[in-house]
């Protein structure tokens, strides 16, 4: 049987043209979803990072992965993003899978607790489903999906969440998932990797860290740019401006991983 090229089929082309004329946004499956442009992107809280991202912040209707190991500053950056989104008049939600969200730390990061919803799902699957429900409402500007160390989401579920957010077009979802970052990285439209370049110290006290944020993937802008960010350890107290001025960078010392001690029971 001779093979028919469907793209060249005049009837299909005509049908597609008529659909486009009606204003339906048609695209090939291999093309990226169109970016929501009617509303400005959600600011990250760091103007330098906004500039590097190319879209002016986290794009709405997309998943963004903050790719960092535990303690690498992803949560701090997410909190700053929530605070910035709220300062722009938005609502935010924090999906806290491991129950580690600390309102005091959030408040010190500038988050207004009155306009923050905290959701505590029971497992990663439920977290994704809850995120989908909240994203579908179209009322949340920033949604942080903090899956923690034990949250390895299913690829299909994340795919579904990504397409649903794209259809909704109003929510920017930040995924903080040290354990599931490989899965999330494959689905996310934006992936920002955080690499610690220096500690920030006052005397012998570590008060923060300097991280290099690298835009490793961006579906709607040029990837590859990077910027240095200074993230402060807040731990529930407000950062003193004098402390920021007095802090000095210290080099990061790589420590070789040692094998864990084994407890040997005597007979």
């Amino acid at each position: 049987m001779p093979r028919t090229d469907v793209a060249a089929s005049p009837s299909l082309e005509n049908a597609l043209e008529s659909l486009r004329a009606r204003g339906l946004g048609l695209r090939r499956g291999s093309e990226a979803e169109p970016l929501e442009t009617s509303r400005p992107a959600v600011p990250t809280g760091h103007p330098a990072l906004d500039a590097v991202l190319g879209t002016g912040g986290w794009p709405r209707g997309a998943l963004a992965l903050l790719d960092a190991p535990a303690g690498g500053g992803a949560t701090t950056l997410a909190l700053r993003s929530v605070a910035a989104a709220q300062a722009a008049g938005g609502l935010a939600a924090w999906l806290d899978l491991e129950g580690t969200f600390d309102p005091a730390v959030a408040a010190c990061s500038g988050v207004v607790l009155d306009w923050l919803l905290v959701a505590r799902p029971q497992d990663p699957a439920e977290a994704i489903e809850l995120a989908a429900w909240l994203g579908r409402s179209g009322l949340i500007d920033t949604l942080v999906l903090d899956l923690g160390e034990r949250g390895v989401p299913e690829r299909r579920a994340l795919d579904r969440l990504g397409s649903l957010l794209a259809r909704s077009g109003s929510t920017a979802a930040l995924v903080v998932a040290p354990a599931g970052r490989i899965v999330a990285g494959a689905v996310a439209g934006v992936r920002v990797a955080l690499h610690r370049s220096a500690w920030l110290a006052v005397g012998r006290d570590l008060v923060g860290q300097r991280v290099r944020a690298v835009v490793e993937r961006h579906r709607w802008a040029l990837a590859g740019a990077s910027v240095d960010l200074e993230l402060w350890f807040e731990e529930g107290r407000r950062i003193d401006p004098l402390l920021v001025a007095a802090a000095e960078p210290r080099p990061v010392v790589e420590v070789e991983e040692r094998p864990a001690l084994r407890v040997v029971r005597s007979a």
Binding site: G89, G90, L91, D102, P103, A104, V105, A106, A107, L113, W115, L116, L117, V118, A119, R120, P121, E126, E129, L130, W133, L134, S137, L139, I140, E235, G236
Partner: protein, 346 residues
């Protein structure tokens, strides 16, 4: 004037579930237009002239019992008298004919008060003790004393108690304001499969009711949805709204998620309920323009709208999922004392 007092002993207990009481009062509206909720578990109904319609007073009381037992099968004492005091005392004196009887009935006339003990009077312990010191034990003894003497010894309280022993009670019946409500219903010629399939009909009914209320500048605060099922008992849910609203989409979606959760809890997975009718009722009507905050803070309006979605999420995922953080003691030494999380659903 003839009054019927209804007392539900089970509802008078401290840990009683008083939810059915309001619906019982609603049911009594079908008997008489003048129904008063005296207290939780005590209702007063004016039955003047109802004997011409329903027969003797015992039969009128039996009809009232039938109406309230359709709501909740609780035992009830019924008393009939010329005023509040006589009707309430009659209900108190009513004795159940046997254990487990649904109702007890008693009628009390003024003349029957004479031989009753003074301990039945609503007096405090000190007054009762003083009455006993004077050697007064029956109502006839107190009723026969000169009013001036009673007033001199016991004051205004004594005069009021003497009025009661003579069968006089000037307190009028204060009928409760009948809660306003609007209703609409639809019946399917052929029952439809699944609760979710009733969504479009539900949306249409909600839109109809909202249109009726919009002209009066009213909005519902609660909806009661009843689904008539073909081979199962009817499904009934009462859903309070996050705030009075005239948004048929929000209302229909919230009710649908609630009724789907109720169906999941009651029916097994294999059982697909067939819906024969939909009945929707809006009550707790209020003025929607009373909410001013969104006019000044746009985000407040969006948060109000979000609460509808959160309510649906709560029905879908259960309680304990959605929280709001509040700043408790911002200057506390320990971070965990500075704020706390509050369950939105609680």
């Amino acid at each position: 004037m003839r009054l019927l007092a209804l007392v539900w002993p089970e509802l008078r207990e401290a840990d009683a579930d008083v939810q059915p009481f309001e619906r019982m009062l609603d049911a009594l509206d079908d008997l008489s237009p003048r129904v008063e909720a005296v207290d939780v578990g005590v209702a007063m109904v004016e039955v003047t002239g109802l004997t011409a319609l329903w027969g003797p007073e015992r039969r009128v009381a039996a009809r009232a019992v039938m109406l309230v037992r359709s709501v909740a099968p609780l035992a009830v004492r019924c008393g009939v008298g010329d005023n509040r005091w006589l009707a309430t005392l009659a209900a108190r004196l009513a004795r159940f004919e046997r254990d487990g009887a649904p109702a007890a009935f008693h009628t009390l006339e003024r003349a029957e008060l004479r031989d009753l003990p003074l301990t039945l009077l609503p007096a405090d312990a000190a007054t009762r003790q003083r009455l006993a010191l004077f050697g007064l034990t029956t109502m006839a003894q107190l009723a026969g004393l000169p009013r001036s003497s009673v007033g001199a010894q016991f004051g205004a309280i004594g005069e009021r108690l003497q009025d009661l022993t003579r069968g006089h009670d000037p307190r009028p019946l204060v009928p409760r304001r009948r809660p306003e409500r609007v209703e609409a219903s639809a019946t399917f010629e052929t029952p439809i499969d699944g609760v979710g399939a009733a969504g479009l009909t539900l949306r249409r009914l909600a839109a109809d009711l909202c249109d009726r209320l919009r002209d009066r500048h009213l909005a519902p605060g609660r909806a009661v949805l009843e689904l008539g099922l073909e081979d199962a008992p009817d499904l009934r849910v009462a859903q309070p709204f996050p705030q009075p609203a005239l948004e048929p989409d929000w209302i229909a979606r919230l009710l649908l998620s609630r009724v789907e959760a109720a169906a999941r809890a009651r029916l097994t997975a294999e059982e697909e309920p067939r819906v024969a009718s939909v009945h929707l009722r809006f009550d707790r009507l209020a003025d929607p323009t009373a909410r001013q905050l969104p006019a000044f803070e746009a985000r407040a309006g969006r948060w109000e709208e979000l609460r509808w979605s959160l309510e649906r999420i709560r029905h879908r995922f259960g309680p304990g999922r959605l929280w709001r953080a509040t700043a408790e003691r911002p200057t506390a030494a320990l971070p965990e004392h500075r704020s706390r999380l509050v369950d939105i659903g609680s």
